[in-house]
């Protein structure tokens, strides 16, 4: 069970959180302007790297705030967490 550092509440057990998939996938400014392929790409296609991955979590059994994290998908270590209005760490 991961120990996840919520930017608002500090380190808490993983069971308090829910996973939200890849971070920084921005809702298109004008979905109607997209081709079917472009929309499908936004809707369905996500990165799946081995290594560092920026992803979303929500502290659903705590402050209920969404935040972002950087996780190493190979070691399953959470390297960093940051608020949605913050830049990802370098």
């Amino acid at each position: 069970m991961l120990l996840i550092r919520c930017p608002w509440c500090g380190p808490r057990d993983e069971v308090e959180f829910r996973y939200g998939g890849q971070a920084h996938v921005v809702y298109p400014a004008d979905p109607e302007a997209l081709t079917d392929e472009g929309w499908a790409d936004y809707l369905f296609m996500r990165d799946n790297p081995k290594g560092l991955f920026r992803e979303r979590w929500v502290h659903s059994a705590g402050c209920r705030r969404w935040f972002n994290a950087v996780r190493d998908t190979a070691s399953h270590r959470l390297v960093a967490t940051y608020r949605v209005d913050e830049e990802p760490p370098a």
Partner: protein, 868 residues
């Protein structure tokens, strides 16, 4: 086998106890395990082997035991557990079990398992010398320290500042230093959840067996176990002992057994060694370069056949064969958290390669350091390998492994799955490396080519009752009840569970059946009036300057144009365009809406709103608050609803002109401040009365008092379902399944056609979402009006087809309609919207029956009844 007159570091001879094994009363001492008590009482056979039914006895002195399994039936219950892991208490009752337990029908006896949570700097797993040293060291650094020892011995562990848990097993080490401990103290079992900054594994090493003929016979035991039974428990397991070894550690066993009075012959696979020389000088008889080829005996070892250089053989009498095939670091926990291994050729075993997480340390014999060197013998060669056991608990032999390899399985992971070796309770801890070496040998590959198979938590069996702890029975899950619940109970309501809510399903009178009750309740609503407790409706207040703009993006229809004091029914879609939830939005003020959701969907909808607000549109000034339990709701439905509410002495003008459908008014009902809402889930004239939660019961009783003289009845969720189905109103999650768009539900009117965006809009134009012939909502009528289709029944074109029959869809809702005097059903059918009037077939157990596709609205299609 007998108890010695003295000795035994683990037992207290001043505290005698009695245990019962298979009906026989045995004398034991405090500190014994069931295994040591059995051996002390000369009980060699513990259980039959699981597949072949061969007699089996105690093989080890620890939780790696592959052989001696028992059921404990008193004073606690354990369906199957190694006899070596059971601490003896007075009155213990046990019986042999061949590796598979049988659960009792009644709840098992035993105290509930308490769960504890701890945070420490250091946890040390393993109570041997390395573990104790690591714990001392941690305490000296000022660390809060837990020391875990799987035996029930306390003597060596009383260290100031250390929380020492004996009789405790670490069942798993998880991410970021999270460790689960199962404390098996008799009468006081506990489960510990520990978060540690640093985890030290001092898990030691496990002795390996050597496969030879009949190496499963009672009287064959690991050498370290024979040593432990003498030194810890004062039990001598044989008078005439053959010690068969590949390494020098077993000489210690040989000496201990000889000093305890046994006659000892050492059979050493090596041809020379300093330990051998020292032992000979000490007067021990040693056969160098020899092996044990077979154990003799019917139900217990009576002798052994030895083979030596140049084909020499020798038969000896013996009642114990103590075997040491070398030692393997005990790394199940280490592997479970992803630690890597490398092969140590000298010690013929896998050791940690240093790739573990940085908070994890391995110390002592678990690192491989200090373990004896020696050859790895995969098995003692023979023509017949069918009793050379590798995995005793799975009854698998060298012959079975070789058969698997011959059939083309070239990896131990595959051999494991073909033979189940290593998958039993003990996870093959005494035989894993041996299996890998048999495979290497068969493939002609060097030692260490085959990695050890993967290990996952739990490292040792853990009862479900321990995981459940106190979370069972009434404490399993919270029960949510409305403020009117007590009235329902008093009125004899039958309840159904909707999520955590208890909802009144129906209110039977006298000997009424479910169907009779529902028919009476439905007809009362259609002909007079009924009242239902709708307090469980999810309710969310959406407040802020941008609330209207936000809801326009959330709903398929516009909520910004909704006037204050009005109500609109709406759909929320997922990004994929599929219906996510439905409900109404009431505009309470310019900047304030109250949304209702399905009872089960309240949390999901609130999460959905928050996700979009927080992650996509943080600039919107909107706050969402769950108010489900702020408002109790009584829904008064029926042609006499207006008279009923009027009779409660309300100050609100109820005339349709003053208070039209889909509007709300604030006022009082029976003196209680109430929000009255003209929404209807039955198609009848209806008033939902929303009052502060604590007024729910008072409101309810006032409505009943006013309404019962007019023929009003309370009705439950079953009648509510029938009434809504008669009107073709869908239930999201019952008539939809996450693949239905509003168009599929024949509700295109709810999707706005202007240029503004809403969640899911773009997906409605995707080729697959927009195509003709999608699965669509319809009504179904059977030819036989008395036949009620089964919900979930498959729909097919023609009767009696040969499988596979193309499926058109399925029945989603199906009821007897009292007002229509016949059965009705809702269904989803491919291309159903354009097939009204056609006949298809429902596949039922008794045969396919014809059904006619209709509009989903069965009753009052023109909607004439909503104004009373």
């Amino acid at each position: 086998m007998r108890r010695l007159d003295d000795g035994g570091s683990a037992i207290d001879r001043s505290r005698p106890l009695r245990v019962t094994f298979e009906g026989r009363v045995l004398e034991a001492f405090h500190g014994d395990t069931l295994a040591s008590a059995l051996l002390a009482n000369d009980v060699a056979e513990v259980c039959p082997s699981p597949i072949q039914g061969r007699p089996r006895g105690v093989m080890t002195a620890g939780t790696e035991e592959p052989n001696a399994f028992v059921e404990v039936s008193a004073p606690w219950f354990d369906p199957v557990v190694a006899a070596t892991a059971v601490p003896v208490v007075d009155g213990l009752v046990a019986a042999g079990r061949p590796g598979v337990g049988v659960l009792p029908r009644e709840p098992a006896p035993g105290p509930p398992v308490e769960h504890l949570h701890r945070h420490v700097e250091t946890i040390v797993i393993g109570g041997g010398p390395s573990g104790v040293a690591a714990a001392y060291e941690a305490v000296s650094r000022g660390h809060r320290t837990i020391l875990v020892h799987d035996r029930h011995e306390e003597a060596t562990l009383t260290t100031e500042g250390v929380t020492a848990l004996t009789g405790t097993t670490a069942t798993g080490v998880y991410d970021d230093g999270y460790v689960v401990l199962h404390e098996r103290t008799p009468g006081h079992p506990r489960l510990w959840h520990v978060r540690a900054r640093r985890v030290v594994l001092a898990t030691g090493a496990t002795e390996r067996l050597i496969p030879f003929a009949a190496n499963d016979l009672p009287g064959v035991m690991l050498a370290g176990a024979a040593w432990a039974y003498v030194t810890r428990y004062g039990v001598l397991c044989g008078e005439r002992v053959v010690v068969f070894t590949t390494n020098h550690w077993a000489y210690t066993t040989a000496r201990v057994l000889r000093d305890a009075g046994a006659e000892v012959l050492v059979v050493d696979a090596s041809t020379h060694g300093s330990a051998m020389d020292a032992a000979r000088a000490d007067g021990l008889e040693v056969l160098a370069g020899w092996a044990v080829a077979a154990a003799h005996g019917d139900r217990h070892v009576t002798g052994a056949r030895l083979t030596g250089p140049d084909g020499a053989t020798r038969d000896v009498e013996a009642d114990l064969v103590a075997v040491s095939g070398g030692w393997t670091p005990a790394l199940t926990l280490y592997r479970g958290i992803g630690g890597g291994l490398r092969y140590d050729e000298g010690r013929s075993c896998f050791v940690p390669d240093g790739s573990a997480p940085d908070w994890l340390e391995v110390v002592g014999a678990a690192t491989g350091e200090g373990l004896p060197t020696g050859p790895l013998i995969p098995y003692v060669p023979a023509n017949d390998l069918s009793t050379h056991f590798v995995d005793l608990q799975r009854d698998q032999t060298v012959a079975d492994v070789l058969t698997a390899v011959r059939r083309g399985l070239r990896s131990t992971e595959h051999v494991k799955r073909a033979t189940y070796i290593g998958t039993a309770i003990d996870q093959g801890r005494t035989s894993g490396v041996v299996t890998a070496q048999i495979v290497n040998d068969a493939l002609g590959e060097p030692q260490g080519s085959q990695g050890s198979t993967h290990a996952r938590p739990p490292a040792e069996p853990i009862p479900f009752s321990a995981l459940a702890g106190l979370d069972s029975g009434a404490l399993l899950d919270p029960e949510r009840v409305t403020s009117i619940h007590a009235w329902h109970v008093a009125r004899g309501a039958v309840f159904e569970n909707v999520g955590q809510w208890k909802r009144s399903w129906y209110f039977p009178q006298g000997a009424e059946t479910l169907h009779e009750t529902v028919a009476r309740e439905c007809l009362a609503v259609r002909e007079r009036a009924g009242v239902m407790d709708a307090s469980t409706l999810g309710k969310i207040e959406v407040v802020g300057a941008d609330a209207a703009a936000f809801l326009d993006r959330i709903y398929t229809n516009r909520m910004s144009t909704l006037p204050v004091a009005s109500i609109r029914y709406g759909f929320m879609l997922g990004l994929d365009g599929m219906v996510f939830d439905d409900g109404v939005a009431m505009r309470l003020a310019e900047d304030r809406y109250l949304l209702t959701t399905t009872t089960g969907g309240a949390a999901r909808v609130l999460d959905h709103l928050e996700e979009w607000l927080q992650t996509e549109w943080p600039e919107l000034r909107v706050y969402c608050t769950s108010v489900t339990e702020q408002w109790a709701v009584a829904a008064v439905n029926g042609p006499l609803a207006r008279e009923v509410v009027a009779a409660t002495a309300t100050d609100v003008d109820l005339a349709s002109e003053a208070f039209p459908f889909m509007t709300w008014r604030d006022g009082t009902v029976a003196g209680i401040p109430t929000r009255l809402c003209r929404v209807s889930f039955s198609g009848e004239l209806a008033y939902e009365l929303h009052v502060p939660w604590w007024h729910g019961a008072a409101l309810w009783e006032a409505v009943l008092a006013a309404g019962e003289p007019l023929g009003l009845v309370p009705y439950g969720t079953e009648a509510m379902h029938v009434l809504r189905a008669e009107k073709g109103y869908v239930i999201v999650g019952q008539d939809t399944d996450g693949t239905m768009t509003p168009h599929d539900l024949d509700m295109s009117w709810i999707v706005r056609r202007d240029d503004s965006d809403f969640i899911g809009r773009r997906s409605l134009r995707r080729p697959d979402t927009a195509r003709e012939g999608r699965t669509q909502l319809v009504g179904l009528l059977t030819d036989d009006p008395g036949l009620v289709l089964l919900e979930g029944a498959q729909l097919v074109e023609e009767p009696g087809g040969t499988p596979p029959v193309p499926m058109l869809g399925h029945v989603t809702s199906s009821y007897r309609s009292p007002v229509l005097g016949r059965s009705i059903a809702l269904a989803v059918v491919k291309g159903g919207a354009s097939r009204h009037g056609e006949t298809i077939h429902a596949a039922l157990a008794g045969g396919d029956v014809p059904v006619t596709i209709t509009s989903p609205v069965f009753y009052d299609p023109e909607g004439a009844r909503r104004d009373g």
